[in-house]
Symmetry: C2
Subunit: 205 residues, 2 copies
DNA sequence: CGAATACGATACACTGTGTTTCATAACTTT
DNA sequence: AAAGTTATGAAACACAGTGTATCGTATTCG
């Protein structure tokens, strides 16, 4: 079980011990049951029963099943972003990629539960859009790029998530170092080529 | 409204006219309502009400909402595959990409409804895996590729779908020809590089 | 025309969500 | 350690949506 579940309880340690206990149990139950049956197949009654918590108690803490998922997701991505922050300044894609895959490896169960949710895509997209704004300064974005910047950001986010998802269910077999390299070659370099360099054919010269 | 809806009715023209009418109406209702509210927000009662069809009649034709979606999806992908078949032999990625984006443009509403479904990914993945088997013969797959072939197929499928999805909601603005080129540069060429050529660093000379 | 059958309407059982109430147990504060 | 606060479990409830069964009627096919 990932350490993040407990870190979250610590973060809110000013709260009543009963509240921390209920929330922790519900979070653990979500992870366990979703790994077994998939998100949609898990009912709130399943969760409260597995968490050994009253049914109504669920709604005292979370508006619905999605809110419970999001509470886990927000913590996980916060941790990932602070892990990545120093490396993003270097603009070394391979190194950044390796850090991501190491984080995934250390929190594999949590990623398996969270990565397919729409909110995961949304949050990462928002972060990537911010990064793109910075990159635009450096690369001086030629007007005749093959695709507009938001297409590039979309591709970067979606295909990176897809690569992580594949890796999670392929036994995490190429190690994070090599996955970081693959991330650079397969995704990062082509994105830069398509959105920041010039069109291939139409060169009048 | 896409012509495919009617083509489907024709295909099954041996059936009772009442059956064809009910199915056609339900399919139209699905497309219209999903475009308005999104798939999950549409209930079967919504569908039958909009289709002007009895509630129980829905279940005489489709097991559930997903089965109705799949019936549309299977037809759409069948049409796409037969459109692509000749161009796949040429192995001209840019041309194939252009054909795909033209098909999307001609059936934009249908793609908007269907592309986010899990079954869409599954069906395209299956098709792509078959294509990959052929490609493996030509490229003689070196053993020290950066990623295994199924990672490449996964990336190809997921990122292509993501690119189409972006394009659908960005007003389909770069034309299909340019999108075909982008598909080749951004996706197809890197996939070949990563799965079929050698590792970059570890070359003992 | 006449037989076959798909249809709409209705009632029903069932599952899951979300709310409310209340007595009790657990926790925090002093 | 006692007193006050508050989160809890249990239970009952209204509600929405799914999927099934029945039956008389209308449409379609031959």
């Amino acid at each position: 079980m990932s350490a993040i579940l407990y870190a979250m309880a610590d973060t809110a340690s000013k709260l009543d011990a009963r509240v921390r206990r209920s929330r922790l149990r519900l979070r653990q139950a979500l992870v366990e049951l979703v790994l077994q049956r998939g998100y949609d197949a898990v009912t709130i009654r399943d969760l409260t029963s597995r968490a050994d918590v009253g049914y109504a108690t669920f709604f005292r803490h979370f508006q619905d099943k999605d809110a419970l998922l999001r509470s886990l997701l927000d913590e996980l991505l916060d941790e990932l972003m602070s892990l990545l922050a120093p490396s993003l300044a270097d603009a070394d894609a391979s190194r950044t990629g390796t850090l991501v895959f190491e984080h995934v490896q250390q929190n594999a169960d949590l990623y398996r539960v969270l990565i397919s949710s729409q909110r995961f895509v949304d949050l990462v997209s928002r972060a990537a859009s911010l990064g793109e704004t910075e990159m635009r300064r450096d690369h001086a974005l030629s007007g005749d790029a093959l695709l507009p910047p938001d297409a590039a950001v979309n591709h970067l986010v979606k295909s990176t998530i897809a690569l992580i998802e594949w890796w999670l269910y392929a036994g995490m077999s190429p190690d994070p170092r090599r996955m970081g390299e693959a991330f650079e070659v397969l995704i990062m370099a082509p994105v830069k080529a398509v959105a920041f360099r010039r069109l291939s054919g139409a060169r009048p010269s």
